[in-house]
């Protein structure tokens, strides 16, 4: 059975290789969810930040929600 974390890492690398920022928003958000489930708050905020930056770049409507979540964690202005 495929390790979900390994599959996600592979998908992230692939999306970076293709400069597919839209995909990166969703993939990093999923990575943040996994980190949150594992109770790793710093890792969650790292991945949320990655998702947020790419969301800003592509004009994703997810940007505001990602920003709000980071701000609630005290990690964003």
């Amino acid at each position: 059975m495929t390790d979900p974390r390994a599959a996600l890492d592979a998908a992230l690398l692939d999306a970076h290789d293709r400069s597919d920022q839209c995909a990166l928003v969703g993939l990093y958000a999923r990575a943040a969810d996994l980190a949150e489930a594992a109770g790793d708050r710093d890792a969650m905020c790292f991945y949320l930040t990655q998702a947020y930056v790419f969301a800003l770049e592509v004009g994703s409507e997810d940007a505001d929600a990602l920003h709000a979540k980071l701000k609630a964690e005290g990690r964003e202005e």
Binding site: A43, T49, V53, E57, G59, R75, E76, E77
Partner: protein, 376 residues
Amino acid sequence: MSVFPMDLSHVTGGIETARGLPNAFYTDPAVFELEKTQVWARNWVAMAFTTDVQENGYAKPLTFLGQPLMLVRDAEGTLRVFQNICRHRGMILVAEEGPIKRAIRCPYHAWSYEMSGALRTTPHVGGPGNNRHDCINRASLGLIEVRSHQWMGIVFVNLDGQAPAFEDYAGDVLDRYAEFDKPLYRCGDEGTFEMSVRGNWKLAIENGAESYHLPWVHPGLNSYSRLEDHYHIDTAGPTCGQGTTVYDPALKFPKFDGLSEKWAKGAEYPMLFPNIMMGFQNDHTFAFIVIPETQERSTERVQLFYASDEVSGDDWREMREKNAVQWRGVFEEDIFVVEGMQRGRHASGFDGGKFSPVMDNPTHDFHAWVARQMSA
């Protein structure tokens, strides 16, 4: 004390006894460097056309006098000029022109800016997953905006931010051509073109300013716009140029509404120092921007503007193309004199040249203006 280590009083004196600018102004890289501060940074200079960025949410990088700049038109259509660098490490932000969705992300550490220039986020600046730090004041770290002004489809910049307001700097020109300050239409790609010239930027302006050369370099004009039909434009501002009283083109485009009688047969071709020549005619205008590349090489960018959007249509395509070819031909006829004078400036015996007190007044005005800028 003069900034320039050479007495230029022989350039700024009366035209009867004056000489032109010395050879070093055309051949010496040190003079070219000094011009960047004395001429280019502290005046309003033409840098681009507003239609270089036509879409909202779009950025276009360009290099101007060696500086990396970018034109950014935001989602609401406001056009701004920024230095094309991230405030973090000075990385070039935009390498190629293209659409901007919401933010400009630095490709290095991903500091991201809104199209207004505001710094939106600084990822991991306070450590992994922490985008804040007390020492990072985003309000003070926005993109560096270059003071700019748009007029007649042209983007002017004042690089040092210290020049008088554009309306004051170019007041004489704005007043003289106020009748043309109305919507202008680019109408097709053929009316925008550029030429690379092996000549100092000043030579293109000097050549455009005077009508003395017309019968020799543009003999086609002799049949309908003779030398005696031309006059000098003489104003107190940073301008000079020439006009004609017999403008009657074979190609008939729609005319601007509401022009005064002067423009029924009149046309004028003023320079706005340092680097733009404009054409004002009752049916179309043009802008001819000279962009210095080195002391011995320039790029000339031209755009034609029509009085009516109607000219954009296919019905007008053939005439638009003929008009663009005609203008390009005129400008290309001038290249050999610009390049010839550039080569001539390497002759050690050339003393800047002797002016005709009757025919070379615009050239003298421009040389004297440059000399004053360099001496101030």
